[in-house]
């Protein structure tokens, strides 16, 4: 018996030895190969960021709790997917991305505090984060003071530009104007009724839309109404809409109010297959709560729909569902959040450095050909060139693509004549 054990040990030893010998040629080749791919840390990180020979740390800063968790969950999921895919491809400059996730808890001062923690304590190379404009405005002074890099995914009102922020969603003119042009041409629309939630984004967006309707399309805005965030009663404004009979209802109602608005619109007998409605605030995510039967027929104007038929999107959607479940839906902002880590990786590789100053300088002109929405490119003003699309909501909660701009639309965060 002792002999047998001995033999077993011997053969195990021999096996290991053989394997070890087989690995020798590979070992001698490895260092050379990795030297070529991974530059020395000291050369690509001169400002003391959390970059080691094998890892680079990136922060994710969204609300996982509180009111905004409804919207921000999708962004967190998309960013994690992108980072996992980048790591599977070998990481950035040979370094795997390590994520530190912080919870902004739907509270703007908390966002600022956590951003500071990520930049000062964790020394993250970039932050993927924020969702509402309020949270971005709270974080902006922090990333500027500590020279961080923020990738911000939401479509927003514009009127902002920073060396330290890359805006991967659309700014207002980019999102709105093409949609208005399309509906004016396609439906011969002349009169518009605006309904929005009462805060900065809908007010700024509607201001831009009004100027465009009045000055460019020579149409008329027959009503403009705002309801406090969280309002659940829209019967009066629906009556006003019925009275003024606009060609188009243009809406940017957000959050829980959205659900109430469309349910009541449907209940009041407004048939969206006959009454044109153009929204800039309803993505597939929102339809989950609204219910496809309540909004089918409405038009939405943004840059991405889950149903887009292109090769990138056809690999993106299954990958997303595989990671986060068959039932999850992907809205415009979720897709924009997915772009963040990729654009950062491409920029770092272009700059050949993790230094924030070099990334900020190298960002303009960075192209991402693998974007689910199709080709995108970073503009000098740190926003993205992207196409604008109009989709029509279907019963199953998906959008059917109706129209897309022929070319990429230039981002214009400070639009002349619209302020």
């Amino acid at each position: 018996m002792s002999d047998e054990t001995n033999k077993g040990l011997q053969s195990a030893f021999r096996r290991k030895l053989l394997m070890g010998m087989a690995a020798i040629p590979a070992m001698t080749m490895l260092p050379r190969a990795s030297f070529a791919q991974t530059p020395a840390t000291s050369a690509i990180n001169t400002t003391g960021l959390a970059v080691t020979d094998t890892e680079v740390t990136v922060g994710i800063l969204h609300s996982a709790t509180g009111t905004m968790a409804i919207s921000e969950t999708g962004s967190i999921e998309a960013e994690k997917l992108a980072i996992e895919q980048i790591n599977a491809m070998g990481g950035v400059l040979g370094r795997k991305i390590k994520v530190i996730q912080e919870d902004g808890a739907s509270d703007w001062p908390t966002f600022a505090e956590k951003a500071k923690k990520l930049l000062v304590n964790d020394k993250v190379a970039a932050i993927m984060g924020c969702w509402t404009s309020a949270s971005r405005k709270a974080v902006l002074p922090v990333v500027e003071q500590y020279n961080g890099m923020l990738y911000y995914p939401t479509f927003y009102e514009g009127l902002e530009q920073s060396k330290n922020v890359i805006y991967t969603g659309q700014e207002a003119t980019q999102q709105i104007l093409a949609g208005l042009n399309w509906i004016a041409k396609e439906k011969g629309a002349k009169s518009f009724f605006f309904v929005g939630s009462d805060y900065i984004w809908p007010r700024t967006s509607n201001k831009i839309a009004r100027k465009h309707v009045e000055n460019v399309l020579k149409g008329k805005v027959v009503g403009e109404e705002y309801y406090a965030l969280g309002s659940t009663q829209f019967n009066s404004v629906i009556n006003k809409i019925k009275l003024t009979k606009p060609d188009v209802i243009f809406t940017d109602v957000v959050g829980g109010s959205n659900v109430a608005f469309y349910k009541q619109l449907k209940a009041a007998g407004v048939d969206l297959s006959k009454q044109a409605l153009l929204t800039i605030s309803v993505t597939e995510d929102e339809i989950d709560g609204i219910g496809g039967e309540n909004i089918a027929g409405a038009y939405a104007c943004m840059k991405y729909f889950q149903s887009l038929d292109n090769p990138n999107n056809k690999t993106f959607v299954p990958a997303f569902k595989k990671m986060w479940g068959e039932k999850t839906v992907i809205g415009d902002v979720t897709q924009a959040a997915y772009l963040g880590p990729w654009l950062w990786k491409l920029t770092v590789e272009k700059a050949g450095s993790f230094d924030v100053d070099k990334i900020a300088a190298a960002s303009p002109g960075v192209e991402f050909k693998g974007a689910p929405e199709g080709y995108v490119r970073i503009h000098e003003n740190h926003h993205l060139w992207s196409k604008t699309r109009v989709g029509r909501a279907k019963l199953d909660g998906q959008f059917e693509l109706i129209y897309e701009t022929a070319d990429l639309v230039e981002p214009d965060p400070f639009p002349k004549g619209y302020q």
Partner: protein
């Protein structure tokens, strides 16, 4: 603003707007009734009222999903069962909360505010962990969607009529329980003089527990009904809490009639102003009016004489 419209148009809009006001009135009464019982009769400031409503909404959502998967043939009637389940789910949770938390705080009414606010945060996070952060869509049976076509320009939303009917029913039931039943008499006795009520043999602890549970149960039914007109998510309850307190405080804390009168005046003011001005302006003016009246009449519209 009326120059361009025909008399017929104006007439039908007047009717429609009247309905809009009535629907708002029913919604207000429904959401305030449960709180009126808890706040009015027991003096407990229940900041978690909205979360009890949302529990009812989630119960409705679960019932609808269950029926869709297992009993699709009975789907058109699931809503009635859902409302009953919502009542018992919220009521049971209310009973538990009263036993664990509220009963220790009856002598410190202001502390109930803090305790129930904490409770509301805990419930929100619990919903988020259990049901997910995203809103859920509650599918309604076909007959509850759409509107009744009266004339070409007058259309009455079915869900609005449903809420109105439900409100009337629940108000009558509550009025009966509070003013006609033996148990209601005990509740009122406890409200008027707790010590004397105890002395004549009323089990005040039990009365308290059931009163709280009843209030929460009605909140659950309201939440269930509101899946027709609003959203169902972890924080949706917050959308109702301010309006609810407004209605109850304005009406006079201890009076059901006051709650109804206040819901009526606030909803009519609000919906009329919404029509003539705009949504946010209407809210401001309504709140100003309420504040003004409360300054003149701090006890609210109707006040009950209570031996302090």
């Amino acid at each position: 603003m009326f120059g361009d419209y025909s008399i017929g148009d104006l007439g039908s809009i007047f009717v429609m707007q009247g309905f809009a006001g009535l629907i708002l009135f029913s919604v207000y009464v429904l959401m305030a009734l449960g709180l009126a019982i808890i706040f009015g009769q027991m003096g407990v400031i229940n900041m978690a009222h909205g979360e009890f409503m949302i529990l009812g909404a989630y119960v409705t959502w679960m019932t609808s999903s269950f029926f869709q998967s297992y009993l699709p043939s009975l789907f058109s009637g699931y809503f009635f069962l859902a409302m009953i389940l919502a009542f018992f789910a919220s009521g049971a949770l209310g009973m538990l909360v009263e036993w664990v938390l509220i009963r220790h705080l009856y002598k410190r009414p202001l502390d109930t505010l803090l305790a129930t606010w904490g409770l509301s945060l805990m419930l929100q996070q619990a919903y988020r962990s259990i049901f997910g952060a995203r809103e859920v869509g509650v599918e309604l049976p076909q007959w509850m969607l759409g509107s009744l076509h009266v004339t070409d320009s007058i259309e009455v939303p079915i869900n609005g009529v449903f809420v109105m009917g439900l409100t009337v029913l629940i108000t009558i039931a509550v009025a009966y329980i509070m003013y006609k039943s033996r148990w209601g008499r005990q509740v009122r006795a406890v409200v008027q003089n707790r010590i004397m009520a105890g002395a004549v043999g009323i089990n005040t602890a039990k009365v308290d527990r059931y009163t709280f549970a009843l209030g929460c149960g009605i909140a659950g039914v309201a939440g269930s009904a509101f899946t027709m007109i609003g959203s169902t998510g972890p924080t949706s309850g917050q959308l109702y809490i301010v309006d609810t307190f407004l209605v109850v405080v304005f009406g006079g804390a201890a009076s059901l009639l006051g709650t109804i009168a206040s819901a009526f005046s606030i909803s009519q003011t609000q919906s009329t102003l919404e029509f003539f001005t705009s949504g946010s302006m209407a809210k401001v003016m309504t709140l100003l009016a309420v504040v003004g009246i409360l300054m003149l009449r701090p006890q609210g519209l109707f006040a009950l004489k209570v031996r302090k």
